[in-house]
């Protein structure tokens, strides 16, 4: 249960093609994350899979069943919305029970499943409250609870954490990952936060303007991005790109090197520069170094004691150098 295949799926709003034909296969039990910049069509793609939006072309198969024309309720998928979309006039218990009630389950089954979901999500004490009386994180859990009780073939999440504060996000991120390990159900998760993508995903799908740029495990994308866009999008702080002569030396149009793959020295190295801003995070130090090749971000350990104006030498780790041709494709 939980295989999803898209074949040549296309979506246009009027004349505007938001998603050109794309193919994608999602395996059973996988945690797949769609990432990409704002407006690239992540939500649209998710809504196409959910059935909330009609495809303009192509086919969707869920568990081998052609599902392109099935209404959302019959696809066996559950969705968690960014705004939670809880029913404000119903108690938490009724919210979670709603899908079961719609499926005409008997009361004993409903009670058992709601109780079970509430236990998994630590909501037992809040069952009689209204959504308006809950915190953001609790609401999020209710929304997930409503999805769990349906025992869907796959969960769809559309930026579920973007309304939460930073600390809570990290928490919920962990909870969702744990939930995935417990339930082993396919999950499709949309985010524009590449940290969420890297930490949670089994498989990341990087989108740009509706096109799939690359599909792969987080480390695959980190180690061997297929093009400049993916290279710049995955990893934080961003990869440094250098063009011109320096790139030509390596036989490329542009070279890319991640901040963590550059050695810092005060005495010798490949590129000479001056420290601009330095950010000390305790465990790490991020330096913005001005060189002949433009500003280069470097990551050093927490002990680096360089300050603005200091002269430094940078040496890239040649094994970790990424080379791109004129079209931006990796060589």
């Amino acid at each position: 249960m939980g295989q999803i295949t898209l074949k040549g799926v296309r979506k246009a709003f009027g004349d505007v093609e938001v998603i050109p034909p794309l193919d994608l296969h999602i395996n059973e039990g996988e945690f797949v994350v769609f990432v990409g910049p704002s407006g690239c069509g992540k939500s649209t793609l998710l809504r196409l899979i959910a059935g909330l939006e009609d495809v303009s072309g192509g086919e969707i198969e869920i568990d081998g069943q052609p599902s392109t024309d099935l209404p959302p309720a019959r696809r066996g998928l559950a969705m968690v919305f960014q705004s939670y979309a809880l029913y404000p006039h119903m108690s938490v218990k009724k919210n979670i029970a709603f899908p079961l009630k719609m499926a005409k389950a008997d009361q004993a089954t409903i009670d058992r499943k709601v109780e079970n979901a509430a236990r998994i999500l630590n909501l037992t004490d809040y069952l009689d409250r209204r959504p308006g009386q809950l915190s953001g994180g609790q609401r999020q859990r209710v929304a997930i609870g409503r999805a769990i009780v349906r025992e869907p073939a796959a969960f769809l999440f559309d930026e579920p954490l973007s309304n939460l504060d930073a600390a809570l996000r990290v928490n919920m991120r962990l909870e969702i990952s744990e939930l995935h390990q417990k339930l082993k159900t396919t999950m499709i998760y949309v985010t524009h936060d590449q940290v969420e993508a890297m930490t949670m995903a089994d498989k990341i799908v990087v989108l740009q303007a509706g096109r799939i740029e690359q599909v792969g495990s987080p480390l695959e994308l980190y180690r061997s991005p297929r093009n400049r866009f993916v290279a710049g999008f995955i990893g934080s702080p961003k990869m440094n790109f250098i063009g011109g002569e320096e790139a030509a030396k390596h036989g490329a149009d542009t070279i890319g090197i991640r901040p963590e793959h550059i050695a810092i020295s005060t005495s010798e190295g490949a590129w000479k520069g001056t420290v601009g801003v330095s950010e000390h995070l305790g465990s790490d130090t991020f330096l913005h170094v001005e060189t002949d090749h433009g500003v280069i971000n470097v990551r050093g350990d927490g002990e680096v004691s360089l300050h603005a104006g200091d002269a430094v030498f940078l040496t890239p780790d040649l094994n970790q150098l990424h080379k791109f041709d004129a079209e931006g494709l990796a060589i």
Binding site: P72, A73, Y87, H89, F98, P99, G132, R150
Partner: protein
């Protein structure tokens, strides 16, 4: 920060308008109260004087009183039922993406701008008239005898006219409420397996409850004083079949020239309206909280 002095100044400054408002309300109410205890009949000048509760006694024991009370409730209840149910249905329709949406919306609002007397006359002469009315024509076309609405079903006819006038108001308020419903809630319900009817009953209707409460409260206040439609169409008749409390007060004081009795009727109407208002607030006012 308001100091003692500035607060005193503020009170002084708003006092003229407060006093004016108080006079505006208190003087007519006080005069009505005063008249209601006076023997004051325009046909019998010189026979004035205090009569105690007589006016109230005669008004309450008037055989027309209970008919009027019943008619008032029928009118208010009937119009509320038609406008709220019809308003929700119309709002659902107007919320759809239809061709010429703007024009349709203006058309729906139009009855609200027609004066009560005019709309009552239009209904009386062009729709209900047993000879020239559209309904009579339709009845004849399908071989039925024409139905004289105003004579045979006066309350129903008046309720229809008033409901027609208030339907746009209800529709407008309910439509804005419907449009403020988060579409993600509907989508979530759709994914949860709720069909169109379940979505309506479990998601839309509870969302509309608050707006419907506002519609009911506001309309009740105005409907209790419905007058022009009755005067223009049935004159409270046949007999007193369509006499409401408001109309009965008019009959007492201006047709029977009994100012004292009319005033007593007016006070009774005020008390009854307040009782209704308290009940309404109790029953549905809690929808307005939270």
């Amino acid at each position: 920060m308001s100091t003692q002095a500035s607060r005193a100044a503020a009170r002084l400054m708003i006092s003229p308008s407060v006093i004016l408002l108080l006079l505006w309300m208190a003087v007519p109410l006080g005069m009505t109260l005063w008249f209601s205890f006076q023997r004051y009949n325009l046909l019998m000048p010189g026979q004035g004087g205090f009569t105690g509760w007589d006016n109230y006694y005669y008004f309450l024991t008037d055989p027309a009183f209970f008919t009027a009370l019943k008619n008032t409730l029928v009118l208010v209840g009937g119009v509320l039922l038609i406008t709220v149910v019809g308003g929700i249905l119309l709002a659902l329709l107007l919320d759809q993406q239809i061709f010429g949406q703007g024009i349709v919306r203006v058309l729906v609002i139009a009855p609200f701008f027609v004066m009560p007397t005019v709309s009552a006359l239009v209904w009386k002469n062009m729709f209900f008239n047993p000879v020239n009315g559209i309904f009579a024509h339709i009845a004849q076309a399908i071989g039925l005898p024409p139905f004289d609405f105003l004579a045979q079903a006066p309350m129903l006819s008046i309720t229809l006219i008033v409901a027609w006038q208030w339907l746009p108001f209800a529709t407008l308020i309910l439509l804005t409420a419907l449009q403020s419903l988060d579409s993600e809630q509907l989508e979530a319900a759709e994914m949860d397996g709720a069909g169109a009817f379940s979505r309506f009953f479990y998601i839309m209707l509870p969302h509309l409850a608050r707006a419907a409460t506002v519609v009911i409260l506001i309309q009740t206040i105005f409907l209790l004083s419905t007058f022009a439609e009755i005067l223009v169409t049935t004159n409270g008749g046949p007999g007193n079949a369509s006499t409401t409390l408001t109309y009965l007060v008019y009959v007492q004081s201006l047709l029977q020239f009994d100012v004292g009795g009319g005033a007593a009727g007016g006070i009774i109407a005020v008390i009854l309206a307040n009782i209704v208002a308290i009940f309404l607030m109790r029953m549905i006012g809690k929808n307005l909280e939270a």
